[in-house]
């Protein structure tokens, strides 16, 4: 029995798979080493670490949205709402009773909530679960809706959450928000959770459930006629997405250090949608790459907002100029690369090797051609 299993694994271990595994291990080891030294402050300063944390967190958020929008083919725009739930739950559970006492100066906090203090990992986990519960509750009425209606309903949900949080003075501290969240999230946290989410989604998409999600995306009528319950599977995808978005929200709370309801306006969902579309609907690696590119570029392109000169002509300082650039970029992608940067495909070492090898092989060909003549 055991021997049979071994031959099964061995049979699947082709040379190419062996090479890919080696390369993957090497890449992971390199990232771990890098992270280790970065944490000691050898390579990156605090500012860069913060940007990398943000990049990884946005990758997590992009993946959560891609699960629903890219893999299951639903059009949901509720990400900001789930993030708000995640951020607030994490913060409320994690802050010390004293810190909370000092923050709630307008009206005291609910004594029960003020007394709670949990370790960060547990706060984050509970935040994910509460966010998943929120997804379940709004999924109930909303997931029966089709297409654009779902987008409008989920957008509405995220605004309702925001308004609720603004007015639940004794729970969320209202419009003032919560401050002084300890910066426990380091590169291990953000990259670690990102790695877990990547592995989770990639594995999920190879299971029967993942195939069912993709079947719903491809053709709802056919999927339902093959025995796939649309509601049940959409709900699974939606709840998992809510959980992951809740984690992302919790990470952001600790990275930024303070939260208030205005941070979670629907424009945030749009930012994440941009990552998903740019990276390619239904591509895990595309989402991760796009999250890093966009988040980093947003920082580096800050100068756009401060005005700049184009030779003779000087562009005045316009707040939000960056977003204009990104929106134009998004439009170009939608017009010319409907599949996003990844073309809807996943990263593979073979593709990378082929890509890097192209110029070399072209030279080789030219040489060979030269010899012949």
């Amino acid at each position: 029995m055991a021997e049979k299993k071994f031959t099964g694994v061995a049979a699947r271990m082709t040379p190419r798979r062996g090479r890919d595994l080696t390369l993957s291990c090497a890449a992971i080891a390199a990232i771990l080493l890098f992270t280790h030294f970065a944490m000691q402050g050898f390579i990156l300063d605090a500012y860069l670490v913060r940007i990398l944390n943000m990049c990884a967190t946005y990758a997590i958020l992009g993946l959560s949205m891609n699960l629903v929008n890219g893999f299951t083919g639903l059009f949901s725009l509720g990400q900001a709402g789930f993030m708000a739930v995640g951020a607030y739950v994490t913060t409320i559970l994690f802050l010390s009773p004293e810190a909370k006492g000092a923050l709630f100066y307008l009206k005291p906090m609910e004594p029960f909530l003020q007394a709670i203090q949990l370790p960060f990992w547990l706060s984050l986990l509970v935040a994910g679960l509460v966010s998943a519960l929120a997804a379940f509750l709004i999924g109930f009425p909303c997931l029966r809706l089709r297409g654009d209606y779902l987008a409008i309903a989920t957008l509405g949900f995220s605004e309702i959450i925001r308004v609720l949080f603004t007015n639940m003075q004794t729970v969320t501290n209202g419009a003032v928000g919560l401050k002084g969240i300890p910066p426990v999230v380091n590169l291990w946290w953000s990259f670690g959770i990102m790695a877990l989410v990547i592995v989770f989604i990639r594995r999920l998409m190879r299971t029967s459930y993942g195939r069912a999600f993709k079947a719903i995306r491809d053709d709802e009528v056919a999927a339902e006629s093959m025995g796939i319950s649309l509601f049940k599977h959409k709900m699974m995808s939606f709840v998992l997405s809510g959980f992951i978005a809740g984690l992302g929200g919790g990470l952001i709370a600790s990275i930024v250090g303070s939260i208030n309801p205005l941070q979670f306006r629907f424009i945030l969902s749009y930012d994440i949608l941009m990552i998903v579309v740019l990276g390619g609907m239904g591509s895990v690696s595309g989402t991760v790459v796009a999250a890093f590119l966009i988040t980093a570029a947003k920082e580096w392109l800050r100068w756009l907002d401060n005005g700049f000169s184009l030779g003779l002509f000087r562009v005045p300082a316009i707040a939000g100029m960056r977003m204009v650039v990104f929106s134009v970029l998004l439009m170009l992608v939608i017009l010319f690369y409907r599949q996003g940067l990844s073309g809807g495909k996943e990263f593979s070492w073979q593709a990378l090797i082929d890509f890097l090898g192209k110029p070399a092989r072209r030279d080789l060909k030219r040489e060979e051609g030269g010899k012949k003549t």
């Binding site: 079947a215 995306r217 056919a222 006629s225 025995g227």
Partner: protein
């Protein structure tokens, strides 16, 4: 006892009565055909049986395993109907576009998966075995329809005739007791049509399956169906054996006449 029994099915779209008082039944091991001109209401009848449409009136009953009484499945959701044992193909092929040939069949196996999502995620032994059995069953079905060599190709890259066969394999993967085929030979060449006829004929023998099919190719219908229903403008104008239907003057006028013209 019948596998499927419909009583007085009626479907209206606005002012149009697409199906009017249709009461077909299918007995175990039977191949039953539904014929009629375009727009006669054949596909609409299939959609009522499979739960895609809720009939305006009338009932649909399905045999239940090990019981004498039949189950009322009128207006049940399509996925429930599929789980209970009715599988179908579509007149205008509806394969999963972004999936391979094998994956299309695997998706139809999903309805019989017992493991939960997290069991599947961590490849829990029960799921591991289910997935392996599922792949074996899917490959066996692909072999039956002669698509085993195309397993890894994208479903939509197949030529038309093969896509139709893939749809049948996919339907069979749900492990049905009744198979509904909506114009399975549409767009096939004569050779493919003949293969299909034999294939469907063999199916019911080997898989203990009953078949209800809509078909325009009179050759197939006359060759393999035990009984025929003829629809015209939603009404049933004739029913019975191939010979009886062929001799029926109303049929000749409404349908066969059109064919000859």
């Amino acid at each position: 006892m019948s596998i499927l029994r419909c009583e007085n099915l009626v479907m209206r779209f606005g002012g149009v009565t697409a199906v009017d008082d249709f009461s077909p039944h299918v007995d175990p091991g039977e191949i039953v055909a539904v014929i009629g001109p375009n727009g006669a209401g054949k596909t609409t009848a299939f959609n009522m049986i499979t739960g895609v449409y809720k009939p305006a009136s009338g009932r649909v009953f399905l045999e239940q395993d090990g019981q004498v009484t039949m189950r009322d499945i009128t207006g049940m959701r399509p996925d429930r109907v599929a789980a209970l044992g009715i599988a179908r193909t579509f007149q205008n092929i509806r394969l999963f576009k972004s999936q391979t040939v094998l994956e299309n069949v695997l998706i139809a196996c999903h309805v019989r998966v017992r493991s939960g999502l997290f069991g599947a995620e961590i490849s829990w032994p029960r799921y591991y075995l289910e997935e392996r059995a599922m792949r074996e069953r899917a490959m066996a079905l692909l072999e039956r329809v002669g698509l085993q060599d195309a397993a890894g190709e994208m479903a939509t890259s197949l030529p038309y005739g093969k896509q139709r066969r893939l749809e049948i394999a996919r339907a069979l993967a749900t492990q049905p007791k009744l198979l509904l085929l909506d114009e399975p030979a549409a767009g096939m060449n004569p050779k493919e049509t003949e293969d299909l006829t034999r294939f469907v004929y063999d199916l019911r023998g080997q898989m203990n399956l009953a078949v209800l099919m809509i078909e325009h190719h009179m050759q197939i219908v006359m060759d393999i169906s035990d009984r025929i229903y003829v629809l015209d403008y939603g009404r049933t104008i004739a029913q019975g054996t191939a010979a009886a239907v062929q001799a029926n003057p109303a049929v000749i006028e409404a349908y066969l006449g059109v064919e000859e013209a």
